[in-house]
């Protein structure tokens, strides 16, 4: 993934749910505060997303926008895509690499 080399990306892995929500929130905010431009979240390793996880993605995007940049979701896994599609949010996020990686 060439994007990950040229731009900062934070990889979230495993379950993106209520159990790790507080910790993930800190990681995301900390990452966004460091990332100067075009920050991205690498979601290829996410196995599960619940409401708490979805909230974090929305929060991340909002924070990025408030900093004058936009957030990209890299390579979202099937479970991420499933939630985004269910909630009609695929177009709200800048999603890359989804088609190639999800047969």
């Amino acid at each position: 993934m060439s994007e990950t080399e040229s731009h900062p990306a934070l990889a979230l892995e495993g379950e993106l749910n209520i159990y790790g929500a507080a910790e993930n929130k800190l990681r995301i905010l900390e990452f966004l505060s460091r990332a100067k431009e075009a920050p991205a979240l690498d979601l290829s390793g996410v196995t599960e997303v619940d409401t708490a996880g979805l909230q974090l993605l929305i929060l991340a995007q909002r924070e990025a926008e408030s900093m004058g940049t936009s957030l990209r979701l890299l390579d979202p896994s099937a479970s991420v895509l499933d939630v985004l599609q269910l909630c009609n949010l695929t177009t709200r996020f800048d999603v890359s690499g989804a088609l190639e990686c999800n047969p």
Binding site: N24, L29, D50, T51, L86, C87, N88
Partner: protein, 742 residues
């Protein structure tokens, strides 16, 4: 979401619903048009269907759906209730119940038998669904389209043109922490119908640091298409109904309804309008019109005069569609009623029985510790300390009573179970039997309720089987053809009394006596009064083998019933009037945990007598008691037991002993004890397996204020011993008198 817990709740609630359904069906048997009962049956099917869907129990969803559709038609008056239908629905209830059992037992697949039963029932249901009753054409006019049928889009100016449901939901912030995931509800809605559009509302979420990652901020605006009812949608959120704000608009709702929605929601009006448009629920034009009306703007509504204040949105709807005022009222009224029902439901808290037991145990310890403190205070002779302790003691007593009351349940639920039993068994026996239940609101300890079911079942079946005569015999005896079985309950001096009475033929005393003699339970020549003969049927070894039928004769006799009642520290007795009927009376303690006791000393030990049973205490006059085992108590003979002798306590008794007069179920006996030690709140501790074989004399043990253990006397058994002894003595004196005569 913790699925295991939720599923357990689902199963429990379903069982309650099924019980309610059975009740309602039995009510319908007598009053086939009872609207509440019809609704209850519908609600049971409907709620179970919805909840089963949440857990992916498709077979239950499928089956209940058919039954629900049928009940929907019954509700609309399209299908009339008759006995065949009731029998069919009872069958459905039983089938769902077995499916629930299978789910509860963790069975993954459905058994062959169950599949066949299910298919048979569905086929019968389909017959009803395919053939509406004769007066069906009267209701076929499209006057009142039911919620489940999507009417064609209207062209009414104020009607909004869409055929989808609009579902708006906001959640309590604590929802995630409570283990629920709102997304799963959205997903579930997607299985009920077609989720045309979902809009995530994240407006409530604070930014950055302030956002609590474990709080739920999201809301959803959804458009849902499909053949479903409002109830279906509500049910999807049933488990979080108290933690969410749910608004559902049916297809083609009045514009005002959407405006109401906009007004109700926490978000900004313009933003919401945009959301509804984004959802496709409203068109731009509709939104504009709505907002214009809301603003009281000119043009759209000429009938409104300019000087009128801005109208609440609800009124706009009514004003513009005066004709539908009644409908709106009705709808509002219905909504309010369902809301009332829900708040009532919410006032009942489900508590794990184990937690309650834990609390009661702790209260028990508190009572013991309180007694200890009070004893110490009294010993210190410090008045203020004694007073303080007395206050605490009073409070502890109140806490004890409240804690015990938590476990109290009404006996009605247990009684109601018998309605079905009586119905089925009377059909099986070909007897016409009416069950009359009274005192259903009488409360008793849950642990007692759980153990009383089986003995009651046995007694009820026995009454139907042996007590009540066949219809022909009843008519011949000049009695009403329909037999009556009564279940009654009431409180009496710290006990609950349960009566099972029938108006049948009564017991055949001659046959009972003959059998008892044959079994050696009664010695030849021993004379018994009627009551004693009647109660012989509770004696172990008195088998009613001759009368064994497939109902009550399933291997257990009445002695088992008595043993069950004994185990509950209860007493059972029977009264019978030849030709008029039989009444079995069960007397049970209200609770098994704590009693008020009377403490007495015998030898070195201390013993507790349940205070309920203590009638009076008196000094023991050695002159009167030295050579006989009874005293003259105000002209009455009072037999007594010397506890020192009974317990085999050695040494000489103190000079002045006391007699405690105890009474149970009408019989009085005196107990000679060394000392009277006063009242004592007694927490009953089980004796444990090893000492359990002392049962009979001791009902349990308790711990005194000083930490010593005291045994609780079993009054019933002591009275039995005294009576038996006297009977023996009488027989002896009778025998010796005879020899004297000879």
């Amino acid at each position: 979401m913790n699925l295991d817990n939720a599923q357990q709740t689902f199963i429990e609630e379903s069982r309650e619903l099924l019980a309610a359904m059975e009740d309602a069906l039995l009510t319908l048997e007598t009053t086939p048009s009872d609207a509440d009962a019809i609704n209850a049956v519908f609600r049971a099917m409907h709620t179970i269907k919805g909840a089963a869907g949440l857990f992916g129990l498709d077979h239950i969803v499928g089956f209940t759906h058919v039954a629900e559709s049928l009940m929907d038609r019954v509700r609309d008056g399209e299908i009339a209730v008759d006995d065949t239908l009731i029998a069919l629905l009872l069958g459905c209830r039983d089938h769902i119940s077995s499916m629930m059992d299978a789910v509860d037992a963790g069975e993954e697949s459905t058994s062959e038998d169950m599949l066949t039963t299910g298919m048979g029932l569905v086929a019968s249901l389909e017959v009803y669904l395919g053939h509406p009753s004769e007066d069906g054409d009267a209701t076929e006019s499209p006057s009142a389209p039911s919620g489940s049928h999507t009417p064609a889009p209207t062209t009414d100016a104020t009607g909004v043109e869409n055929v989808t449901w609009h579902v708006s939901v906001r959640f309590d912030q604590e929802l995630l922490r409570n283990g629920f995931d709102p997304l799963s509800f959205v997903r579930y809605l997607g299985t009920l119908g077609d989720l045309v559009h979902v809009e995530v509302i994240a407006d409530a979420m604070p930014s950055g640091e302030e956002m609590d990652a474990e709080a739920c901020y999201l809301g959803f605006e959804m458009r849902l298409a499909g053949d479903l009812t409002k109830g279906d949608i509500e049910d999807a959120f049933e488990f979080v109904q108290s933690d969410c704000t749910l608004r559902i608009l049916p297809p083609n709702s009045q514009l005002g309804a959407y405006l109401d929605l906009i007004q109700d929601l926490p978000e900004d009006t313009v933003r919401l309008g945009e959301i509804l448009v984004a959802c496709g629920t409203l068109t731009e034009r509709e939104l504009e019109e709505g907002l214009r009306i809301q603003a009281g703007g000119a043009g759209a509504s000429e009938e409104m005069s300019d000087d009128q204040p801005i109208q609440p949105l609800g009124e706009i709807l009514v004003e513009r569609e005066v004709v539908q005022q009644e409908l709106v009222d009705a709808a509002l009224d219905k909504q309010r009623r369902t809301r009332d029902a829900k708040t009532r439901e919410a006032r009942v808290i489900r508590v794990d029985a184990a937690k309650l037991d834990e609390l009661i145990n702790l209260v028990g310890e508190l009572v013991i510790a309180g007694s200890a403190a009070e004893t110490l205070a009294r010993r210190s002779r410090n008045r203020t300390l004694v007073e303080a302790n007395t206050t605490i003691g009073g409070l502890v007593e109140s806490i004890r009573d409240s804690a015990l009351r938590l476990r109290m349940v009404e006996i009605g639920e247990t009684f109601n179970r018998f309605r079905r039993v009586v119905r089925d068994v009377s059909q099986e026996l070909g007897k016409d039997i009416d069950l009359v239940i009274t005192g259903a609101e009488t409360e008793l300890d849950k642990s007692v309720v759980e153990k009383i079911g089986d003995p009651l079942m046995h007694l009820v079946r026995n009454a139907m089987d042996h007590g009540l005569e066949s219809t022909e015999r009843r008519i011949k005896a000049g009695k009403p053809a329909k037999g009556t079985l009564r279940l009654n309950a009431y409180h009496e001096s710290g006990s609950i009394v349960i009566e099972i009475a029938d108006d049948g033929g009564g017991l055949d005393r001659a046959r009972i006596l003959a059998k008892a003699q044959e079994r050696g339970l009664v010695q030849p020549g021993q004379s018994l009064n009627d009551h004693e003969i009647d109660n012989l049927i509770f004696e172990p070894g008195f088998s009613t083998a001759e009368q064994v039928t497939n109902l009550s004769g399933r291997g257990v006799g009445m002695d088992v019933v008595r043993r069950n009642i004994d185990a509950l520290r209860g007493i059972i007795s029977l009264d019978s009037n030849p030709g008029q009927g039989t009444r079995v009376t069960i007397r049970l303690p209200l609770t098994l945990a704590i009693i008020d006791g009377f403490l007495v000393g015998v030898g070195e030990g201390a013993y507790i007598i349940p205070l309920d049973c203590v009638v009076e205490c008196m000094k023991c006059d050695p002159a009167e008691t030295r050579c006989q085992d009874y005293i003259n108590l105000r002209g009455q003979v009072l037999p007594f037991l010397r506890l020192r002798d009974l317990f085999g306590i050695e040494g000489s008794p103190p000079r002045r002993q006391n007699i405690v007069v105890i009474q149970y179920a009408g019989q009085r006996v005196g107990l000679v004890v060394d000392h009277l030690l006063g009242e004592f709140q007694t927490v009953i501790k089980p004796l444990g397996r090893l000492l359990d074989h002392l049962r009979g004399l001791f009902g349990g043990s308790t711990i005194l204020g000083g930490g010593e253990v005291a045994m609780i006397l079993d009054v019933q058994e002591l009275i039995r011993i005294a009576v038996q002894r006297d009977a023996g003595a009488h027989a002896e004196t009778a025998a010796s008198n005879q020899t004297d005569l000879v």
